[in-house]
Structures are given as C-alpha cells and as structure tokens.
Symmetry: none
DNA sequence: CATGAATGAGGATTCATTCAT
DNA sequence: AATGAATGAATCCTCATTCAT
C-alpha cells in the first residue's frame, strides 16, 4: 500500500495545488482587480502556502496570466459544444447570440476578468500565445453562418463577421460589466430574471433585424 | 507683465490647486485604476504637494470620488448642449446615438473610469448624491424622442427607454472599453478612423432599424 | 447701542474664547493624554478656530500647561473652603482625608491629568511658577492639624506631615487613577457607591489608626 | 569561536528577535506612552528592522499589548517565589507588603506601564486573556494570610482581601507613579534611600496596624 | 484681534518577493 | 519538491504649526 506521505506517491497533489491556487486567485482577482488583489489574501484562502504560489506561478502577474488563460479556455470549451453547422443560418445565429448572452450572464467573473484586463490594456492577454487563434475560431464560426445566410438570401445586409461579433459582444457584455453603475443610476438590477429575458430577446431581435433588413 | 510661474505672483488659488490635482489624479486613476494609482505619483505631477491632496480631498478614495463626479458632470454638460427637441424624432434619435458614440470615442478616459468604477461595484458612484437625478435626464430626453416617434408612427416597436439606452450604451461603450482585448484577439484597432465611421453608422442603423421595424 | 460686530465692543469674548478652548482642551487631554490629544480635535469642538489656540496658547504644550495650571487652581480653591482650624484635630484630620477622597472621586479628570503629567515626568508642572507655594498650603494645613493633635495627646505617632500627605494621597488617588486596571483584574468597579463608601471609611480609619496608635 | 555579531553566525533566531524588540519597545513605551512612542524609534534601537516589528506583533498596539503582558508576567513570576505559607500570618503579611513595595520601587517601568494602561482605560489589558486569573492568585495568597491571621486572633479587623490589596497597592504604587509631581511640589525625591526605607516601614505599619486593631 | 489656506516632516502600515534549508 | 522566516521599498496618511491678509 502506497504511503501518501512519500512525495513520490503524491503526484496528483501538485496538480491539485495548482488548481486550488488558481481557483482562489481567480476569485481574488475578480473581486479586487490585479492591483487590488493581495497575494497574502490568496495564500490564506489556499490549502497551500504563499511560497507555493511563487513556486508554481513565479509572480503575482504570472498567476494573473494563468487565471486569464484559464478563463479564456473556459469560454472556448463552452463554445465548442455548440453545434451550429447543423442549424439553418437564422437559427444558428440566434443560438450563437443566445449562447454569448447566457455565458456572460452566467459567468460575471469572466466578464469582470476581461474588464480588468482591459484596464491593463490587454498587456497580459497579448503575451498569451494561445489566445489569438483560439478566438479566431469564434469568427470563423460566425463567418460560416453569415455566408450560409447570405447564400440562402436570409441575410441581406453586407457586413463583416468581426463587426457583427463586436455588436453581439457589446450588447451582451455591457449589461454584465456595467451593471453596477447602470444599476446605481437607473435603480435597476440588470441581472434580474425578467429584465434578463427581455434583454436577451431584444438583443437577438436587434442583431437578426439588422442582418435581415436591407441597408437604409 | 507678472510671471504667473513665480509663486509671489500667484494668488493662493484654492480653486486652481483643486483643479490641478483633479486633472492629474484623473489621468493617474484612468491609467492605473483605483488600487493601482499612487498618491505619490499624483502629487509629483502636481504643482502642489501630497499634503494638499489630503487637505482638499481627505483621502485617495475622496480624490477618486471627486474625479468620478467630475467625469459624470462632463458628459452631462456635453449632453445638455444637444438640442434634440428641435429635430424630428428620427433625426433626434440618430443625433443622440451619434453623440453617445462620439463622446465615448473622444473620451476613452471617461469610459475607463466607468469601467474602473464597475470593478469596484459602483461603490463610489453610489455615494455621490448628485448622480442619480443627473442621469435621469438622459432617460427623459430619450423618452421624449421615443414618444414623439411613436406618435408620428415612425417608431413602431413598443419598448422601454431604459432598454434602448442600455443597447446604445452597450454598443458605444464596449468598442472603447474593450478595444484592447478585442484588438489583441482580432488584430485590429477599433479606434482607427475607418472602423470608427463604419461602426458608428452600423450602430445607428441597428438601433434605428430595431425601433422602426415591427416585432418579429 | 453698541454694535456687537465691532471688535471694540466684544471685549469679553476673548476671555470666553480662552475659557472655551481650555475646557475643550482639558477634556481632550484627559481622554487621550498629551501625545494622544489632537489639536485639530480640540479646534473642532471649540467655538473658535485652530488658529486661535495658537494665538492664545502658543503651542499644544502651552495649552496643556494652561490646562494643568487650571486643574491645580481648581483643587486649591476647593481646599481653601475647608475650615479646619475650627475643628478639633481628629475631626479636622477626618475632614481633610474625606475632602481628598471626595474631591478625587468627584474629579477623575483631575486625577487623570496628574497621572498624565507624571508620564511626562512633571516636566510641565515644574515650569509652572505658581505651583510650588500653592501646594505648600496643603502641607501647612496638615502640619497645623498634626501639631495640634500631638499637643492634645490624640496623635501619639511621631511623623512628618509630608509622609502623612503621601499616604492619604496614595490611598485616595490610586483607586481613581488605577480603577481601570484594577477593575479589569478584579472584576469590580471602584467608583461604585457601595465600594466607595466602604473605602472612604477604611482610608480614614487607616490613617487615623496609624496616627493614634503607638509605634510598634 | 564564532562571532555572534556576524549575521552569518547567527541562526535566524525568531525568539531572540522577538525578545529584543520587546525589550526595546518596553523602554520606548515606558518613556513616551503608547501614543508618544514611535515605531521608527523602536526599530532603530533594535537589531532587526521595523518590518519585523509588524511581522511579529502586527501593529504598534499589538506590540504594546505584548509588552504589557510581559510586564504582568514579570511581577507574577516574582510573586511566585515568595513562600508565604511557611511564615506566620503577621510575618507573611509584612513580607507581602514589603515585596510589593520593593518590586514597584525597583521596577518604576512596570509602574509607569500600568499608569499608561490606565490612561487608555485598560483597553489593552482587558483583551489579554491570561491576565485575570493570573492576578486572582495574588488575592488568593492574601486571602489565605488573612484567614490564617483571623483564626490565630492576630487580625481582628473584619475585611475583604481585595480592599487590603487596594490599600497596599495604593500606598506602594503612588509613591512611584506620582513621584514626579510629588517631587515637584514638595521638593523631594521619593525614591531616595532614606525616604524609601522610612516609607516602607510606615506602609507596613499602617496596614498591619489597621488589621490588628479593632474597628473604631 | 482674527482667519482660511497651506505645509514639511514624519507616522503607521503594507506590499510582493526571496532567503536558507 | 517544498517551506517557514524574513525583508526593502514603498504606500497611504497625520501632525503641529505658520503664512498672508
């Protein structure tokens, strides 16, 4: 029977430690931003020690980068479960918009992380090698839908996939990222069920309407 | 003619000192966020001393709040120069969207400040007494346009002014707030002239299209 | 009719301002000690401004000295109302002890101020010219009682008035000055009525007993 | 033989660092009080750095609390070497009073610390968990002496041990705590040998006399 | 006599990180 | 592979006091 105290028999622990640190760090960065987050605070909530954070991630910034990468991996993995090619272009588009809306609605942490990264001018994202092609996928998917739709005569508006992606993202992201200031000013909670459903429909209609109507 | 740089020729000008500090602080907060900003760094770039920052604003947070308030005052004052009542509903709507787009495009600092405030869950905005009614104005204006448009039969979509405001804001804000991550991923610069003009038109068309087309 | 806004008609205000500042300062010094007291805090609670404190008292230390002097003047003035010469020696002694006990019991502020001054090694008291002869009075009074008592054969113990004064003071002062630590350790409140009366009697008995009993 | 002053020859000795800081801090707090003490001043006189003070004690107040605790531990440990049960009640009482007198006479630092803590209304002492039962010991000892004395018919006065403790403390403490103001007013030095011996005898006689004489 | 604005010097505390083993 | 102890360099903030009028 293997002795769990023998380091040779504890191999999965390193993975678990890393994952533990990463999860705690994510929460801390999401709550306080990069500068506001405290390495000490992360260490305290972790099963391991502060020293391990440096052992595994090198620095606070290294840890933040790892959190960021993991966050992008998460949405990418979710996106990959969408099977849009099987749907007709309109349905596929609706599905894609709804997915974006729902993912960001369900993952305000992810949204905050992106907002934080923008405060830092995407300095850390830029250094993540994997990111760029990762998200090229998203555009390829959208492009495919648009071209199918154009071919079918459903989408009559000439437009760029990146532009459409920008609009979808803006509409879905903003209501999560800016819910606090928006709520403070207009006295409402954008994440509340009723508003959420109304806005989801509205966003889908807006984008679909734009693509299916001829240029003014 | 007296040299204004010679301290003997400078009246102790509380207003100017305050304004100077505020301008420098705004730049620092915009660049580094609330936690990332350094009071020392602000003081150094100021004509006065660190001590004065505390004298006038009480604390780093007090200074940040003042910056935030000033930022909102700025957009409000700009909005108030719009004379939308003189325009027909469609023109007024276009003008309002264009104004939002252009203001945020021209003031990325403002956009960053709002993003930063959202990272802090609008904790400071909430405490600014003046804010809420300030921005109620924006909605009143939009509401007036929408109801005139509905009366004239131009806007056929039943909808809430706050919802429309949310969509306009999302579309205009996101391309500024998220231009760094968006640029990193899609290899483009959203603030570049060509893209800007295309997106401005697109956003106007999207919102106008939504309001002028009947519900699906 | 005199105009109260004309400074020439406001002469008594200077006195009132001084007295106001002194009262507020006394409370602040008593609560926080000399180093712990804040000139700003004093100024805020005052009807006048911080500048006036410096105008009247020169410095924080000058203000503290004035408070100290006033405190000693207070007890001296109270002492001077005692008419001990009319009483027989024993009654006079009892009366003197009771007065000391009651004055310190009723003026914990005074006691704290003396304790604070001792923390500062009586540096400020030493500089108050008036103090020394002021308190010589107290000893002269006690000396007179003791010598009358000795002559009458009531006080049979040979002893120095200053030593007796020291014992009376120690017994009366300590229960007020150290009531907090004593209370924390022994779980009692030394200022409570029942204890107070018991201790008063005890202290009188102790001193009287000492003076009226022959050396062991 | 290795030189202990060479850092390379000094094991990182947490205990020694802590003790060093504590000793220096005690001197600083004793001299200037809690508010008057400077963390920088303490750090400078220490072999370690200011940072270590915070590492070990968390805050200036934490350091002060540790000093206070150590001070109480010191007197308790000294008390515990007294072997009063072996002495007859009168001798035991005399010994206890003399011990109190001599300990406070020899440790004016301790006396000042208690005085300082009273300025702070025993706020820090109250939070020291260990203190209360520690000093219950002192009362238990005194109680045992008193009850033995009462049984033996030596102490004829009915009285509470806490009251007697209060009187002993008052008499011994005051001459140390208030020696500065007392000296300033009466032009004497209470710590001088001749006075000290006279007062010690006087205090013992006073308390013993009180207990051995019948209530008036 | 009175005052609002200003301030140099210092004060407590915190931070991400590394050393020695 | 793992870690408890240690730390230099900031960081935010406060203090008693004075200036200019």
């Amino acid at each position: 029977m293997p002795d769990p105290k023998d380091p040779r028999n504890r191999k999965p622990d390193a993975e678990r430690s890393r994952a533990d640190i990463l999860a705690v760090a994510r929460a801390e960065f999401v709550e306080h931003g990069l500068s506001g987050a405290r390495v000490d605070a992360i260490a305290e909530k972790t099963a391991t020690t502060k020293r391990m954070i440096y052992y595994y991630f090198g620095s606070k910034e290294g840890l933040y980068s790892a959190v960021l990468q993991q966050a992008y991996a998460g949405i990418r993995s979710a996106e990959s479960t969408l099977e849009l090619r099987q749907l007709d272009p309109l349905a596929a588009l609706r599905r894609l918009i709804e997915f974006t809306f729902e993912y960001e609605d369900a993952h305000p942490d992810f949204v905050r992380l992106i907002a934080i990264e923008n405060i830092h001018q995407a300095a850390y994202l830029t250094r993540l090698a994997t990111i760029r092609n990762v998200n090229a996928d998203a555009i390829a998917t959208l492009e495919e839908i648009l071209s199918r739709g154009r071919a079918a005569g459903v989408f009559v508006r000439a437009c760029d996939a990146v532009d459409i992606h920008l609009m979808i993202s803006g509409l879905c992201f903003y209501r999560v990222s800016n819910r606090h200031t928006f709520g403070a000013i207009f006295g409402c909670d954008l994440l509340e069920t009723e508003l959420r459903e109304r806005h989801k429909a509205m966003i889908v209609d807006t984008i679909v309407g734009y693509l299916t109507s001829r240029q003014a």
